[in-house]
Symmetry: C2
Amino acid sequence: MNPEPVLRSLALTMPLAAAAALITVLYLVRWLSLKDRGNDRMQKVSGAISKGADAYLKRQYKTVTFFFAAMFVILALASFYSKMSMFTPFAFVTGGVFSGLAGYVGMKTATSSNVRTAQAASRSLEEGLKVAFSSGSVMGLTVVGLALMHISLWYFTLDWYYTEILPSASQAAKFAQMASVLLTSSMGASSMALFARVGGGIFTKAADVGADLVGKVEKNIPEDDARNPAVIADNVGDNVGDVAGMGADLYESYVGSIIAASALGASAGYGLSGTILPFMIASFGVIASIIGGFFVRTGGKSGQAALLGALRRGTNAAALMSTVGSFFIVRYLLGADGTRMFFALFSGLAAGVLIGHATEIYTSSSYKATKDVSRSSLTGTATVIISGLSSGMRSTGLPVLIISGAIMASYYIAGGKLEPTKGLFAVSLAAVGMLSTLGITLATDAYGPVADNAGGIAQMAGMSHYVRERTDELDSLGNTTAATGKGFAIGSAALTALALIANYNDQIKGFTLNLNLMTPETMSGVFLGAMLPFFFSAMTMDSVARAAGSIVDEVRRQFKEIPGIMEGSADPDYATCVDICTASAQKEMIMPSLLAILAPIVTGIVLGPNGLGGMLVGAMVSGFLLAIMMSNAGGTWDNAKKYIEEGNFGGTGSDAHKAGIVGDTVGDPLKDTSGPSINILIKLMTMVAIVFTPVIVSLSLIK
Amino acid sequence: MNPEPVLRSLALTMPLAAAAALITVLYLVRWLSLKDRGNDRMQKVSGAISKGADAYLKRQYKTVTFFFAAMFVILALASFYSKMSMFTPFAFVTGGVFSGLAGYVGMKTATSSNVRTAQAASRSLEEGLKVAFSSGSVMGLTVVGLALMHISLWYFTLDWYYTEILPSASQAAKFAQMASVLLTSSMGASSMALFARVGGGIFTKAADVGADLVGKVEKNIPEDDARNPAVIADNVGDNVGDVAGMGADLYESYVGSIIAASALGASAGYGLSGTILPFMIASFGVIASIIGGFFVRTGGKSGQAALLGALRRGTNAAALMSTVGSFFIVRYLLGADGTRMFFALFSGLAAGVLIGHATEIYTSSSYKATKDVSRSSLTGTATVIISGLSSGMRSTGLPVLIISGAIMASYYIAGGKLEPTKGLFAVSLAAVGMLSTLGITLATDAYGPVADNAGGIAQMAGMSHYVRERTDELDSLGNTTAATGKGFAIGSAALTALALIANYNDQIKGFTLNLNLMTPETMSGVFLGAMLPFFFSAMTMDSVARAAGSIVDEVRRQFKEIPGIMEGSADPDYATCVDICTASAQKEMIMPSLLAILAPIVTGIVLGPNGLGGMLVGAMVSGFLLAIMMSNAGGTWDNAKKYIEEGNFGGTGSDAHKAGIVGDTVGDPLKDTSGPSINILIKLMTMVAIVFTPVIVSLSLIK
């Protein structure tokens, strides 16, 4: 349709958008650095958190380096002995490096902004919001900026290679190799994300549960009290888990969805136009996100509604701009088919918003579900647990209807009935649509832990109570955006995984028939795949329990052996708790990560490519359900407890409150470790399957 | 291969085996009726239980009658306006009646044997075992006897109809109509089973949780204390839930697997031989079960190991006989293909045994998993809950490997690679093999609640402590067999559902392509189906919570308003608690049951036959996982608590024990209401899909 040179130059929008994002990041970082860091005591606390987080990431990157080196060798051998591109091992490594870098920048900013947010909040609520949100924006824009820069890097390198060095390659071969290299880079990002999510998730919940079990329950000292030896570890955890982990997760969904769509665009018969369409949508989304950031203002008003309104104004503005821009982009690139594909993009965007709302309905204490869970605390702990589990299970209903609706709508509107490849391309565009404004949606999400940390610093540094009240207000909003963000993360993970599975299906088509459920290997594969998220969650939950156990022992030891802690006359040894969490998280993250990488390879070899396809579908579906159930059950327990603390059903200190605390503690590993890790599990397994398809096909026992 | 007249006469083995089973039942009932019913006080307690159970079943059958009348009309209209056979509505009703009858007989025997077991246990442990096991055998043999009689009834009626009245029908049309009518009868049984499982499950856990929350926790009186107003309701619950519910459930799996295999046998190209093969396997299994019963003896030895050994001897003897017999039957009927099909049968039998073992590993306190959960009670309630959930999730691993292994093995050994229909027939034979000795495996399972009730009677009637110790020993064994039985029930449900899905696939083949996962409707169907067990479980858990809430209120009221209950000078009003449970269970069972029946019809209409196929697979897979997770988590919490009561980790009354009790209470609705009901949900939805295929296809929006 459009002449090739024009299209090739249009791909340049991607590095330009990336540059715009990263320049904005630089500007924001500079702006933040000029903000007041408060008094010595605040800086001391903040310094301890920052030091702990640095130490953790350093250790994590060291562990991960071994893994990446090993994978580099394996992929190098595979590319040598099979039809895999020679760029594959390098792409894997750069994928990991960029994903890690995104997490690192986000976390560095968060740990240096927490104290500034606390100080700003001492002036006004709006000031506090501005600083915390700017820190979140650094994270959001770094993720999308680095992602687009990384895709550009490989896209233009490969484009140059196939134009200048190997011009003899056919267009189809060129597309296939490019897709495979880009997917490998995505797999690298995914591996890094899994380590970050699992390790960070274990760290944060071990510290949180350990600090609460001894501090709150045994010693009766409040949350974030400086006398608790695990308090710094707890605050470090917010950064390594919620910031670095979440960033790596969404980096990976973002990259995965763009690349999957790009590959499907080529095979849907749109040629280069199909390939660069996702790039341009993403690029425009970045610009929309940057502009949307300017709309985040409270207008001087205070209160939860005003704060939420401010954030919503920003995300809505960005979504609107992105929608309008997308329309013109698809129309320009795909001509008459463009309008249909636009609806696919739009259905993804709408599904993201709707899943966020559905999450709120089941986790916010403004709604009946969480109030019911809260009320059940009146009849004791058992009923709180049962009603929370039940609410989590029930909450899977709406997201499934929304995702299924988005799949059906995008496929059929795009004309998938007659041309299935176009239908699948449309489904992958829905994922791109959902993630197009990630720059700003991630900002609203990453802002939460900064506010949470600011509250911790205000408490530990003994700032006046109105500062703590303001940071609490900011934090409480952060809980709402975190819940929405989790729904968004899992929704986008499901659509991205589906797009990736479609890619896998494309890959194996040459070898086998199709994913017919009535073949025993596909059916067994579905069974196996559906089981994996359950097994994986059990592993990560046990990891948290073990790590929390060592923290409990250590905190008890310090209270016993260091005299004067309770009186405040002696400092506890914070660093040891941080060390224990770091070491446990590193040790515990290995097995679940290996499961994710080995399961598809072993399944592929034993059950063949169709069995592996079934496994990927089974894992995606059951993982989606389990992740929603665990995140929402955890969220509802958390807010049910807070609802009691607001004075309902007996208030703080009542028996109902004690029951509520147990519910919250049970929910912690579910919502912050196991649940979110599943997102990455299902995507990573699919990418492993795609990258290793040639190997799996040649080794598989069933053809 | 074999001449038709010979084969037709061989089908007569089925009514003969049914007669043998029912004659044995009559003999056992007579033998039981001669046993001593103990003193007046015991009879009074037993009478109250029996009266409550009768009242419940009467009310339940009344409610259900409306449903069956409505379905009769719907099916009559459908058979009038579509190609459905005119026998369909009648088959649906008789299916329900026979299933209900099986539950009724089993429960009547159980409620009249509990007091006899208590009395016999006052003489010796072996006597107690004999009485309780005989009562269980009545249940087991009634289920298989009535099932085979019911299949015979329709098989010979239809055979006569197509030979004498409509001889012009083609062989294929005849088989199709027979299969459809028999499957409808199975759907009737399934509907009745769902009501029994859900209603009974809600009744038993509402009474149990309600009795415990006020009696044990608030009033500090022991389990089964006559002063607790809900104690009779609790004992009634054991009968209506664990006996009648379990009986109806397995009746339905048994009938479903035989009929599904029979239908697939015809379409696998084995003609009449394939049709009657499952009948003969089942018939021989009944005889093996009757003989196996004679091997159940303790040989005068006492202790858990001797008791378990006695039961194992019986089930193993029956399994061995059934295996040997099956070999000759398949060889005779299928000739050279027979040996291959024999391995399919055998793999099912082996899978049943292995799943039972896997369940034990994760729920018995002899193994590490449950000990770990028990130990986690030392750090409080939250860790007990987390570790129990995690153990339940982890326990899904082995059963999935076993079931997948059985599916793969039976399909490929039978030559499914070249002839898929033979492969699917083999998978359905695996289900038949697993259930072939149901007569005795169900007996070992149904014996548990009788022993449990006997213990309750011994306590309430103030029998001497050594009687209670013996009934406790019997009951504890019952917990082990119940866990194994639950694994068996869910394993057979999965295989039966799979065989039924294969039937469904056969049915829709004429209309559509196939269940390719890469079509959006199949994919959306899988998402939707996988969600349904979560949603259904949430509904039933909430039902239990609501019903238990009304019991708590009532028990509290009685303690307050009836003076002298605590001193034992006044009798509490047991009947009101029974009434409340009955009324709640009836009300609460409606919505989940409607979900099961409407979901496939609505999905079929909206997503078309392929979407519905995906939904059935999704529900089967996620239902299998969720049922195992919930049953095993509940089982491990139950036994972890008992392990503490045996004196570990502080023993009875310690903080650890209190945490253990909360775990047990959380597990109650999971393991006895929601988990087992899922078994029926997944089978019933598939049968609804099969029966309504013509309607769904004509109304569906996507073809």
